[in-house]
Each structure stands twice: as C-alpha cells, then as structure tokens.
C-alpha cells in the first residue's frame, strides 16, 4: 500500500527531519510510529500524504509513484486518504458539521448522504451535540475529535493520524483507537503517530520507532 525507499527530508532553514527512511506498509496493516518530539513523525506522514515533497527517495502509494502524479490527480488521491492533522486544521468559520461534511462534499456526495454519514460519524466521536458549533467554540479534545471525524467520514483506503489522542482523556483515546481498529478490520490501512505510552503498551504490536529522523526499530 505504502512504500518508501531511501527517503530523506531536509527543510529549508537547515533542519533535517528524515534521513534515509525505507518503509513498507502493506494493505490492511495497523502501524504505530513513535519517537521523541522532533524525531520526524509528522514529516513522515506528510510525505506519505504528498503534502511535503521528500528531498530524496521514492514513495509509492496505492501503486503509484508520487513524483508521477499530476497536480490534477493529487486531489483524487487525497480523497482516498484520511489525515488527522496534529494541529487539526479545521476551518474556523465553518461549523463542525460543515467541516466534517467538506471531506464528502469535495467528492460530490449527495447532500442527503452527506447528512446521514456526517451525523453518524459525529455520534461515533460523541459530538452530536456540537454539530452547529464553530471549532473555536470547542474544547481542545472536541476539536481533535472533529478532525478525526473528518478523516474517517469518507471511509478512506488509508488513514494517517498524527498524534490523534494528544488532547483526549485515556478513555476517549482508547475509544478512538478502537474506532481506527474497526475500520482497519474492514480493510483500511491505518498509520498512527503517537507518544501515548498507554496506547503503545496496549496496542503497539507493530511499531516503527523514529529517532532523529532515522528508523531505529
């Protein structure tokens, strides 16, 4: 599903985020990425998502080489990937419902189906009662769950989640991972970057550990 060959990433400004990362994630896998702050976890996910270009190396996703994807095809690929951003990336002047609906709207889903699926998804993350709130009127954990809902609502082939439980209490964290495991059981590939020791102890069978931009285990 996702293959990276000798990928390196140097940001302009001089910071090296990844060095020679080779990685293979098969379809239907559930993978954790860990490592200390600044190790390159987010960068790795962004490169898989195609929102940061690698400085060196090749990435093949869903059988396609990122370097050969035209800019008009990129949106199509992104619709097949659900990304939970570490900083949420919610549109502040749209409601929770609209933010989640956006992921379906861009695909041309019918309004009725959007409504059904968004409301169902919001209830999975326990936010039915916040559907008409603006993101800035939500608590940190609520915002994070909106971001999760938006990533899952389109039933993507791949889920990339960057620290999706950083603002959630332990109970909600476990529920969230259970949600990911459920979609994973239905065939979705899931990659979760996390610091959460509790989660790793509980679920972390397959884990990639990053340290200073290198895979160490």
């Amino acid at each position: 599903m996702i293959q990276m060959f000798h990928v390196s990433k140097n940001y302009e400004g001089g910071s090296t985020a990844l060095t020679d990362v080779t990685l293979k994630i098969t379809k239907g896998e559930f993978l954790f990425i860990t490592g200390p702050s600044g190790a390159g976890k987010s960068t790795l996910l962004k490169i898989m998502f195609g929102s940061e270009p690698p400085t060196e190396g090749q990435i093949i996703i869903d059988g396609r080489n990122y370097f050969k994807i035209s800019s008009s095809e990129l949106p199509l690929l992104r619709r097949r990937i659900g990304f939970v951003f570490q900083d949420f990336k919610l549109i502040p002047n749209k409601t929770v419902f609209e933010n989640v609906a956006l992921a379906l709207k861009v695909m041309g889903t019918s309004p009725r189906e959007i409504k059904n699926r968004v409301l169902r998804m919001l209830s999975y993350v326990k936010l039915q009662h916040r559907a008409n709130f603006k993101p800035l009127c939500l608590s940190g954990g609520e915002q994070q769950r909106v971001a999760i809902a938006r990533a899952l609502v389109k039933e993507p082939a791949i889920i990339l989640a960057d620290e999706p439980t950083g603002n959630l209490d332990p109970a909600l964290s476990i529920e969230t991972i259970e949600l990911f495991r459920e979609v994973n059981n239905r065939g979705t590939t899931v990659v979760v970057a996390t610091h959460d020791k509790g989660l790793l102890e509980r679920y972390g069978r397959k884990t990639v550990h990053l340290e200073n931009g290198r895979v160490t285990g």
């Binding site: 929102s51 949106p75 992104r78 951003f85 502040p92 956006l102 041309g108 019918s110």
Partner: protein, 295 residues
C-alpha cells in the same frame, strides 16, 4: 463527480460563505463601486466636455468674400463643398452681411448713419471637418479657394484655429493620461482590496486542498463571490453616479447642461458599469486566490 447537482451544491455553499464574510464582501463591493464611479464620472465629464469643445471648435473657420457680380450662389456653394475637407458652406448675401454688421454694432449704429449704398461684399462661410485630426486641412482649403475666380479675399483666423485644434489635442491627451491613470488606479485598488480579503482566507483554501478539493471546487465560491461583489459594486457605482448627476443637474445653468448629459443611453451605462464591476470582481478574486492554489 455529481455533475449539476454538485454544482448547485457548490453555489449554495458559496452563497452561505458570502453571508459569513458579509462585512468584508460588502466593503469590497463598496470599494469597487466607489472606484468605478470615480472612473465613470471622469469618463462622462470627459465625453461631454469633448463634445462641447468639438462643437464649439466647429464654428465657421474660413470666410471667402465674393466679387460683386460673380456666378450664382448655388454654383459657388457647390464649388466650395467639392473641396476635400469642407464639411459645410453657407452663402451670406450682401444684404445679410449688412444686417449682421448692424447687429454687431449695436450701440454704435451711429457710425453707419452716413452710409447709403451697401458697401459690404457677399461671402461664403466655410467649415472644415476633422479640425483636430488634421489641422493642416484649413491651409489647403484656403489655397484652393484663392484660386477660384469669384474669390475676392479669403480670411481665416489662423491663430484661433491653432488654438482650437491645440486645445482639442491637449484635452484628448490629458484625458488619455488621466483615463489610463484612473483605470490603473481603479484596477489596483480593487485588486489589492480583494487580495487582502482573500489573503484572510488562505488557511481555508489550504485546508480545502488538503481535504482533496479540486481547484474548481475551491475556485467556484471565489468566482461567485467575485460576481456578487462585482455586481453589487456596479450597482453602487450606478447609484452614486446617478445620485451625483441628480443632485448636480438641478443646479446646473441651462447653457451648461451639456456637462451633465448622459453621453450614452442609461441602459448601456448600467450594463457597462455592472459588466465592468463583475469583470473586475471575478478577475480580482480568481487572480488573488490563484496564488494560494499554486503553492
């Protein structure tokens, strides 16, 4: 992609977003309207002024005095009109010349008291067209007239002709300068205003792209917003110019009426202003946001 229902959806959405950004949208529309109306007031005044000066410059430019006992007036008129450049020729008989002189001398009529027979010659008053485009035409016409057998004397006010054509040329030049400057200023102000308004939403655009929106999906709302802003701006410009004209027209001295004339039919003006507004609104929106799509 869901085709037309999808488009309908996008449009509905765009209108909602318009409501959400209503303050900025309204202020942008007013900016557009104000800028456009400055430009259109300038155009109107210029067109009117130009027309007025043109008709003012369109006075008799050459007078050819006719030897007593020359050919029939009609023959003479025809001969004059056949000279290239001449647009009008009016025959003035000896009698009319005297009457006109008496009129001109109003208050000094006493000087004519001793005069019995009519000493004044008949004449043809000639206008040359396209004065501004071809100020040399007058001299050519004069030369041709002098060759005519019936012509006793040909008079023309070289100085005045030069003044008029100089003035017309200058006004046209100044208007072109001013017009270009105002047009550039209008475009600049509007595009900068829209740029700033779009800039405030760059995060929103960025997020839409990350969620997999096509460029079209992102552009449509901005396009619609541009249309609405531009339309509103055009209407505002129309109202401002209309109101200005109405306020000023009542006070204008009658002989100066030409300056507040509507140089084009009102529907044409309305359509032109609104079209200009929509064009600028759309172009401004799309160009401003294109920067964020490329990144």
């Amino acid at each position: 992609m869901g085709g037309s229902s999808n488009l309908l959806y996008i449009v509905t959405d765009a209108l909602r977003s318009l409501r959400e950004n209503s303050v900025t949208t309204a202020l942008t529309a007013v900016t557009l309207g104000v800028s456009l109306s400055i430009f259109s007031v300038f155009i109107f005044v210029f067109v009117n002024l130009n027309a007025a000066i043109n008709s003012w410059g369109d006075r008799t430019q050459i007078v050819a005095y006719i030897k007593d006992g020359s050919e029939a007036p009609e023959k003479i008129r025809e001969a004059v009109l056949s000279i290239p450049g001449v647009t009008s020729a009016e025959f003035v008989s000896k009698e009319r010349a005297l009457t006109e002189l008496k009129n001109e001398l109003k208050g000094h009529e006493m000087v004519l008291e001793g005069v019995d027979s009519n000493p004044l010659p008949a004449s043809v008053e000639i206008k040359v067209g396209g004065l501004y485009k071809n100020p040399g035409a007058v001299s050519t016409v004069v030369a041709r007239l002098k060759q005519m057998g019936w012509a006793e004397d040909v008079q023309f006010n070289r100085e005045w002709i030069e003044k008029i054509s100089g003035l017309l040329g200058f006004i046209e030049l100044a208007a072109v300068f001013m017009g270009f400057f105002l047009a550039a200023a209008t475009v600049f102000i509007i595009s900068n205003t829209i740029r700033l308004a779009v800039y405030a939403r760059k995060d929103e655009i960025e997020i839409m792209r990350l969620v997999g929106a096509s460029d079209r999906f992102i552009k449509v709302p901005f396009f619609i917003e541009g249309v609405v802003q531009g339309f509103a701006g055009g209407v505002i410009a129309l109202l401002i110019t209309g109101a200005g004209r109405y306020l000023v027209a009542a006070k204008v001295p009658p002989y100066f009426n030409f300056i507040v004339q509507t140089p084009f039919p009102v529907p044409v003006i309305a359509v032109a202003l609104i079209a200009a507004g929509v064009l600028m609104g759309v172009a401004g929106s799309l160009i401003s946001m294109a920067r964020f799509l490329k990144a």
